[in-house]
């Protein structure tokens, strides 16, 4: 796996600087190695199953994975927002990576969210993620001090983590949570780093603009939702990391396949089935509790959420059911 090839290079940092204005960036891995990791497909953001005492239920995880493995996903993300990562401590997050790696096929790319609130902790967790079997890490801005996160601080954070990480880094932009929208200019600079390989964003204009400006860097732009997958792909996204994949993965993969093969009209039509479930999770604000409710309804293990999240009340749970019924999924 890529991180094995790469990690020994940590001992032999090249002195050459990639970005003239950021003196501390050096080569961890050779640029051509970026090519080894393809993001051309669907990566569901996997929820973390808890039992009623809020402990991780690894059996439930395995059962869910067994079902997900039948869907032609490109890979998986664990430790993201929809995994309740902020409520799952680093040790637990690593255990999930290890257990997931055991169950899934070798061909699947496993991305581990390694975001922590400091750069230091994110570096450490990224190292451990690589050792635990993640093929890449996904990193959010450390948002606590968001009023201090100017472009220089943003670039320094991702560069420092990418330098420390034995596996490639995927930038995760989530302005709704962090309160900071990473500017395109930062993506363009970061794309030149040999160990930064992709960005996940939800703004189609930014996806196009980033694609256009980074085409020489083997840098992938990924959509953060599945309800507008066709829109994202015509804007330049090669794949998508999204929560909808974990519950309606077959359809999401089929839409991706249709666009990939140029069958736009069929893709547009099929995507319409995903629009309302996607809005339900994202805009109606059902979020993680809604996703877990949908999983329960569809025969996956959804189960409880960890506080401070609150479970859906019965009325909202009923709305989730109606939405899935109306869209033809039950």
């Amino acid at each position: 796996m890529f991180h094995l090839v790469c990690s020994h290079l940590l001992l032999h940092k090249s002195p050459r600087s990639y970005l003239p204005t950021m003196s501390g960036i050096t080569t961890l891995c050779q640029p051509h190695q970026k090519r080894n990791l393809s993001f051309d497909g669907i990566f569901p953001a996997l929820p973390t199953p808890f039992d009623k005492d809020e402990n991780i239920d690894f059996d439930a995880l395995k059962k869910n994975l067994a079902r997900w493995e039948k869907i032609p996903f490109k890979g998986y993300v664990v430790g993201g927002s929809y995994s309740e990562a902020p409520s799952v401590d680093p040790g637990e997050r690593l255990a999930i990576v290890k257990e997931t790696r055991k169950v899934i096929s070798d061909s699947k790319i496993l991305i581990g969210g390694s975001s922590c609130l400091s750069t230091k902790a994110t570096c450490e967790l990224s190292k451990s993620m690589g050792e635990a079997g993640a093929d890449a890490v996904m990193v959010l801005l450390p948002f606590y001090y968001r009023t201090r996160l100017n472009e220089e601080a943003i670039i320094d954070h991702f560069t420092t983590v990418a330098n420390a990480s034995p596996v490639p880094l995927v930038i995760y932009n989530n302005p709704l949570t962090t309160g900071v929208d990473i500017p395109i200019s930062a993506y363009i600079k970061l794309a030149a780093h040999p160990n930064i390989v992709a960005v996940k964003d939800g703004d189609v204009s930014k996806l196009s603009g980033t694609k256009l400006a980074t085409h020489e860097h083997n840098f992938a732009v990924l959509s953060n939702g599945a309800g507008f997958l066709v829109s994202a792909m015509v804007a330049g996204a090669v794949g998508s990391i999204n929560s909808l994949g974990a519950i309606l993965g077959e359809t999401v993969c089929e839409v991706h396949q249709l666009v990939s093969s140029g069958q736009y009209d069929e893709a547009i039509q099929l995507q319409m089935k995903l629009v309302e479930p996607d809005l339900m999770l994202r805009m109606t604000g059902h979020s993680v509790p809604g996703m877990k409710a949908a999983m329960d309804i569809l025969g996956y293990y959804g189960g409880p959420v960890r506080k401070p999240l609150q479970p859906l009340n019965n009325s909202d749970r009923e709305k989730v059911k109606e939405c899935l019924k109306k869209s033809g999924f039950i």
Copy 2:
């Protein structure tokens, strides 16, 4: 024209209520009349030309219009954000509608922005807009009291204006300016009103969701930008109201035509030329001053902005030029 057909009906309001929870909504025009106004195309948001004393330069407007008339636009918007409408008083806005109507061909749909800070003033300006020759009015939320604008207040505002307006109403959502993002649920309710015919929004998920939920209402969803036009159209938009059309209209119309005829790959490729100019205007924040600078460069009359807007400095003006050059427009 539609507003002539419609306006006499104001005398014969039907008593039937369309939306049970909104008792005041009555039929101005019969639902089938909505069909008379097609939004299937590009509507540039026309800037208001000022002379160096900040007075409106109608000669410059006519010269610009003469050039715009050679482009296959579906119609025009005057009195929007990119027209500096908040800085143009109602009398001036009406004069612009009248002058524009005289110059443009009859087949072009002329949309006049009639947004004011109160419902009352918006009703009055909407009436005058219809009399002045506008085929439709475009209405923003009255954003001063935004913390009070719950869904009920939002629906009441648009319904009251639509009841008063002799011409159909286009909802204009601009959360960046108003601080309120009109929810899809409001669009869906408002789409049932016989005199509300379209919405302009920039979120592709909302475009899809609105399209899906309002398909029985002859209600058009329109994109508010041109840099992601293909994305918006595959998400359900039939057309677009945008500032880019005023400077790069030929290309914007060509992208629309390509998507309309199913030539997606060609559309995607051509749209790439528009991505950076669009980002320049919207994300880099050059906004109206940047648009006017681009017009000057491209041989239109751009000219000064009205305060509180500030003109671009030379360095930013140079960036606009470079962007247009890099994208192949000069």
Copy 3:
């Protein structure tokens, strides 16, 4: 009155440029003239009374004024947020100034809100306000293009209006509405302008900081609320422009008087009566509709609001009553 002394100077503007980088601020009126206008007291923000058709009810205004004139206010503000100024057109605003000026005693300072969405329109309305009898104008940021309002644009706006206005200008900071919090550094620069005499802000730290940095400029800092009047005055405010004064003016003036005479403990105790009514209007969000409901309850004319504002429902109206009862006002 001050504006008479000042206005003739408008005919003799120096041709030299007023603001190259702020160093160029020159005297429209001599600095010592600032001293003529004292803000040392309470200025209620007067609501605009409407009849049931949303027209201005001047009789109701006069009745209210007759009662307010019995309270030892320093002056009045018309045309502010609590006057529903955004929903009252410039002609109506001027008529209110004229009618108010006729009724109130000569010693009262009448401040007219002259905020419009463009600098040009604000200059024009400021001129008319002076002619109509206002002793000063109160000016908000033109908030539509708020993302473009950097410090330079902010300073340019206020300076341009102050240069044009025949009467002194009071800066009105309302970040909740405008989305822009005017920085202290802008206050400090603007305080040097001979025709800018005060600022109204709600942040006690900014009040202190401004007081400290502008002490040589005869520039008054004013609080924008009455529920924390003691806090604002110990932070440096000499007076306050607030909505609570219009309904509970006697108590607000008494608190001001107690602090002015050094009776802090008595002031603190009395202010406690105002805390809940103030929170009710501001934080509970009852805002203008709540203020008008309270006026109705207390024997003033409150009456309807103009749309897009919605009247309080009965339950909320009852809460306003309970709050006034609990605080000992009915």
Copy 4:
């Protein structure tokens, strides 16, 4: 110490519910025990000293504490925003509590920030904080899922943590960071909990309103800044948790003492010295890096910050120096 008295009671939870609408709240400690912890004074928020490798420098901490112990503080806060708590892992935070407890006098109240991103982790860290020697814990909202934090979720979080914590809980409201401003209604409900003893907030209106509504609960309201201490105290705050205390503690304590003894005019005058340093840290945005720079200048150990925070550049460091000089501290 209080937490010893209290912790054994964990074995004997009373079944009676304090808040009818929140069924899960039970008595950990008897209500009268709230009285044992007085917040009537100044609590500096202590920065965490790092060496150049970003490791905690405990020797520097001890040297700083030796100096702070000469100032009549009521106690200390470690593990807050100005301690870079989000960048200091739980083990490190506990070590700081232990080391601090060893050095400071028994009479000082030691408050340990135990905020984590999940309720579960916050409960666990609160327990450990009590065991490590903290007299109270200070808890922020778990802000990652802020869009889901309605009043019910907020109350559930603080109640769950207060139930689990062996030592009393101080609510910490920091809307700038969390994006959620805890409403007064939540404070009022939470104040009834026997193990919730204080709130730290920066809005003087909210301080007054909370004081008024919770007076029967032995619940302290605390200011979160020192530059407006007099304003906060006249609004009802008995004390203050603030960063300025760590650098200019003598003056901050003196202002508190002057207000406490009714010498308002002297307090107002003295506080003026603190206004600019306070604005420098909070509004100018120098924040933690600015605080550490000021410490270096004043002879404390300030030292480096942990990433993602960036150190001040030389120009900003010079401004900090000028500010301290201008205010008479160097």
